[in-house]
Symmetry: C2
Subunit: 185 residues, 2 copies
């Protein structure tokens, strides 16, 4: 495992039955590991960037003694699938009606616009009401550009998004949706 639990983002999760089971990030990491293992895609979570304040040196090598987490200015996952550049972000919300845009940093939204412009495949995976949707980057940006709201409504996600399925072995079927929606086949 490349990214141990202790460097994962902390989600402010309500403990309820809908949220039982694996959290979204674990599920996507597991999916990506499975896809690498069967040589289907090369998609990885980027390491969380840190700022190192202090290091020490010992026989075991260089150690970080003080550091802080920094914000990712791009999206969390990227890689290669069928010759195509893929990048996406995963977000879960406990709100039942919308996903707040404060979950996305301004530079991430700008980055999504740039990936679209440079002809990459870009999307958001959103877990809301216990369901997981893939929302195309273009639909996400369209919403932001045409709504004054500070969140993306669940109705929009349901209408424009693609409902994903979980499989115990294979994880999340998001590449099937990529095939269908972005690649065509």
């Amino acid at each position: 495992m490349l990214y141990p639990n202790n460097i994962k983002k902390q989600y402010n999760k309500q403990i309820n039955y809908a949220n039982r089971g694996m959290d979204l990030e674990d599920l996507i990491n597991k999916t990506n590991e499975y896809n690498i293992s069967i040589n289907k895609a090369l998609i990885y979570k980027k390491p969380t960037p840190i700022g190192v304040v202090d290091v020490s040196y010992s026989k075991e090598g260089k150690k970080i003694e003080k550091a802080y987490f920094k914000e990712q200015s791009t999206l969390d996952y990227n890689g290669l699938y069928k010759g195509k550049y893929i990048e996406f972000e995963a977000k879960e919300t406990t709100s039942k009606t919308s996903i707040p845009l404060k979950n996305f940093h301004a530079h991430q939204i700008k980055h999504i616009r740039m990936v679209i412009e440079h002809k990459g495949i870009v999307f958001i995976i959103i877990k809301i009401n216990g369901l997981i949707y893939l929302l195309k980057g273009t639909d996400f940006i369209d919403y932001i550009d045409t709504h004054e709201r500070k969140s993306v409504e669940y109705d929009y996600i349901k209408n424009k998004g693609f409902l994903l399925k979980e499989n115990y072995l294979k994880g999340l079927n998001y590449l099937d949706v990529v095939d269908e929606v972005f690649i065509g086949g």
Copy 2:
């Protein structure tokens, strides 16, 4: 600047005139920032992965109190250029005759093979004898598969590689070579 100097890889550099000036990693970071700023390509250095041992919480948020650097299992740089997936590694050596293969981890070499298989653009940027070359991933792998040696000889790099140019403003012209060699144009 996304990645401050203190989390850069440390190079065991001899101080000599050939190595004067910006080191290779700084030069590539500067190049990538320039290319992002003129909206030419979206290529980033991946953050160095770390393993967190201990954290603390305070008013300022979560802080890392102890951690260690981990090895990157993929290559250091990846991104999107003209709709294409790009991934590469940068290495400099003080040897005048070859670049030792111990500079590359086994999982990185395996990863290069996989990027080729999945039709991504993959290469190595090598600084040797004060010159900077782009060596295609396929030529790098060919060498490994057909030689018993533990290093890639300078002669091979000179013959198969493409000499890169530095520009004070634009950085390194590696995307020109990508155009010529991989994309065709």
